[in-house]
């Protein structure tokens, strides 16, 4: 039971990460490597501000930090026409130093003796506080994003990811839309990092490595269940995917002979397989065709 509740809490908090990744990966159709940096950015900003005694203030601070990171990537990509993947890598690498700077030069920061959001809720046990807070945070983010992508500006962003040439021809500023989308995506990712830091009671800069693959795995698992339909369903499926991913991971660490450090390899293999599925299906279809029609 404790295992299930723990993975649900993590699933919800990392679900926020999956929401952010869904924006760049599915709506803009750009795999955004800034993720690795902006997650750690949220993590370290949140830890530093919390350690200074402001666990609530840590959340808007992390959101702003993530948005700033997204803006850098977005501006590199649009105004300076740097390759989309490269601009993410550049921001991510730069952020590594920034994150160390924020945590005072150390690669981790403990919040054990500080008040975090999860400790300051009155009249709730620690575990209930964790469940309630992660649920509220995840649902609130989910609802706000669903509503946002139903507005005019949200629709423009979706159209930019779908056919940017057409958007250019309808007098909408494509570059501004892209930058805004990267800001929102990375702000949401940083929010996830910020909550994780307070939830765990410590911030470790290395916890962000491979985070993009974890988020992608959640998005893909969700899509396997719900299919690719509207953006609203996409967002919901990303959160559900994250919950399932966490349960799989919890069960795998408990019952499989693999040590915990193998998890990222397992995630990478899941994502690689899921992304290769369309090509594998195509090949299987060609092979079937050949067997049926040997003269072809």
């Amino acid at each position: 039971m404790k295992l299930i509740i723990g993975s649900l809490q993590l699933g919800l908090l990392y679900g926020i990460l999956a929401l952010g990744i869904y924006i760049s990966f599915r709506i803009l159709s750009v795999p955004d490597l800034t993720t690795e940096g902006s997650f750690a950015f949220g993590l370290s900003v949140s830890a530093a501000v919390t350690a200074a005694g402001h666990p609530v203030l840590a959340i808007p601070a992390a959101l702003a930090a993530g948005a700033a990171a997204g803006a850098v990537t977005g501006i590199l990509q649009t105004a300076f026409m740097v390759h989309p993947i490269l601009s993410g890598i550049i921001t991510m690498s730069g952020l590594y130093s920034v994150n160390l700077l924020i945590m005072g030069g150390a690669s981790n920061l403990s919040l054990v003796r500080t008040d975090t959001l999860f400790k300051i809720l009155p009249s709730l046990s620690k575990q209930d506080a964790q469940t309630v807070l992660s649920l509220i945070a995840c649902l609130l983010t989910l609802c706000l994003l669903i509503l946002f992508f139903k507005t005019h500006i949200g629709m423009c962003i979706r159209a930019v990811g779908d056919n940017d040439e057409m958007v250019r021809a309808s007098s909408i500023n494509v570059d501004a839309c892209k930058i805004l989308a990267f800001c929102i995506s990375n702000a949401v990712i940083a929010l996830s990092g910020a909550l994780i830091a307070q939830y765990q009671g410590y911030a470790d800069i290395s916890s962000s490595s491979g985070i993009l693959v974890i988020g992608l795995a959640s998005v893909i698992i969700g899509e396997a269940l719900f299919g690719r339909r509207s953006v609203t369903i996409g967002f919901i499926s990303a959160v559900v995917g994250s919950l399932i991913y966490r349960i799989i991971i919890a069960l795998a660490t408990k019952y499989s002979p693999l040590p915990a450090y193998m998890l990222k390899l397992v995630s990478a293999i899941i994502v690689a397989l899921a992304l290769s599925l369309p090509a594998l299906r195509l090949r299987a279809a060609v092979r079937r065709q050949k067997r049926r029609n040997p003269d072809a």
Partner: protein, 267 residues
């Protein structure tokens, strides 16, 4: 309405493959004129449209639209005043968005409020009424993703997107060329209907010479980045496709070279 003065565009300037795509071209269009443009491959027809829309800036010359100097304006600012339909039905619409979302995207350029929900209830009614005018049953498929429509249906949606906010200039770049003959005729009829109802100033590139002479009010023949001749009024109404081809070979000492156009003539 549209005033192009002495436009020059050179591609790959200073290299072995330097190529003058627009060669001191000047053109004036009055409001409400419907100009058809014909010309051989590489005559500069699409380049002229690209120059008007701002895909690149001119090397020399200027472009004014309704008193507004467009010469150095970025593409998305010009797009507010110009509607453009391409030959490829895939280019003008967002395939993974519904018909009403696509139309709303185009419509909102007049009323854009960033955080209002789109499409609004008012818009939905407007789009349904406008689509119903074309008799293609599109009004019953407002929530269908545009990617699932046929080429002709997509072109009609694109046409409506370009004209739902009346543009100062409508550019049609062989917009029926990728369609089968019956659909092409249908889309052309709808085009004429839209242009007439809104009194649009329109330029249409076409490979179909007879439709170039029968559609609109004026015909331009382009060659090597220049306007070879410009016919309207009585001269135009008496002209046949053969006259047009003879005029072309007389002024360039070449026969007309456009693969699609030859096919169109053998019909």
């Amino acid at each position: 309405m549209l005033d192009i003065k002495n436009a020059v565009k050179v591609f790959e300037q200073g290299t072995m493959i330097e190529h003058t795509a627009l060669d001191h071209l000047s053109l004036h269009l009055d409001a409400g004129e419907f100009v058809t443009i014909v010309g051989s491959n590489g005559a500069g027809k699409s380049t002229l449209f690209n120059a008007i829309c701002g895909s690149f800036f001119l090397n020399e010359g200027s472009i004014h639209l309704d008193g507004l100097n467009l010469t150095l304006r970025p593409e998305h600012q010009r797009a507010k005043h110009i509607g453009r339909v391409f030959q490829d039905p895939m280019r003008g619409t967002a395939p993974n968005m519904t018909i009403e979302e696509n139309l709303s995207l185009a419509h909102s350029r007049s009323t854009a409020r960033a955080l209002s929900f789109a499409p609004s209830r008012k818009e939905k009614v407007l789009f349904r009424d406008r689509l119903a005018e074309f008799g293609m049953q599109l009004e019953d498929r407002m929530k269908t993703k545009v990617g699932l429509l046929s080429g002709g249906q997509r072109q009609v949606v694109t046409l409506l997107m370009c004209t739902i906010v009346t543009p100062k200039l409508l550019l049609l770049d062989e917009h029926t060329a990728a369609l089968d003959p019956a659909t092409a005729q249908k889309v052309m009829d709808i085009t004429k209907q839209i242009v007439q109802e809104n009194h649009l100033t329109t330029m249409m590139i076409t490979h179909n010479m007879s439709s170039a002479l029968t559609t609109g009010t004026r015909t331009l023949m382009m060659d090597s980045g220049r306007i070879l001749f410009d016919i309207s009024g009585e001269t135009r109404s008496r002209m046949t496709v053969d006259d047009l081809l003879t005029m072309y070979s007389n002024s360039t000492n070449q026969t007309f070279d456009n693969d699609r156009m030859l096919l169109a003539n053998t019909k």
